[in-house]
Symmetry: C2
Subunit: 83 residues, 2 copies
């Protein structure tokens, strides 16, 4: 079992890295981007664990270390390892 | 149209942030994580653009600025804005 976690600033929190990307894209000739937001993507591998157990551990991981709950939101998705 | 881009180190490249997360999780009591990898998740908003145009711009953005092709791989997914 594998957890795919994405962490982004909450809506309304200034995202300076996103702003920098947006400005850089404009000056590099990538057109039409009205907003860019940059966050983190974390992949956790849980070999030999049931989906519900892995999900509980993922939630704990998000709350303890992967996201700052004051300014960030997280989402996660559990997927089977295919390979 | 919205592009969801994920950027991770290529397989085989040492991911120090991932290692740090893995060690921290273990000492915080989150069990069963055999590997953690940390990458970036970027959301680009393309209002008023067709899917194929937005996809072309996203590819250009990934190659020019969002990923370092020497050590990183990127993936992207185009989704309709729902709200």
């Amino acid at each position: 079992m594998k957890a795919l976690v994405t962490v982004h600033y909450k809506q309304g929190i200034l995202d300076p890295q996103g702003k920098a990307v947006q400005n850089a894209l404009k000056s590099l000739g990538v057109d039409g981007v009205s907003e860019a937001r940059v966050g983190r993507h974390i992949v956790l591998q849980f070999p030999e664990m049931s989906k519900s157990d892995a999900e509980a551990q993922t939630k704990k991981a998000c709350e303890k270390i992967l996201a700052n709950p004051v300014i960030e939101d997280y989402e996660y998705e559990m997927v089977e390892n295919t390979a």
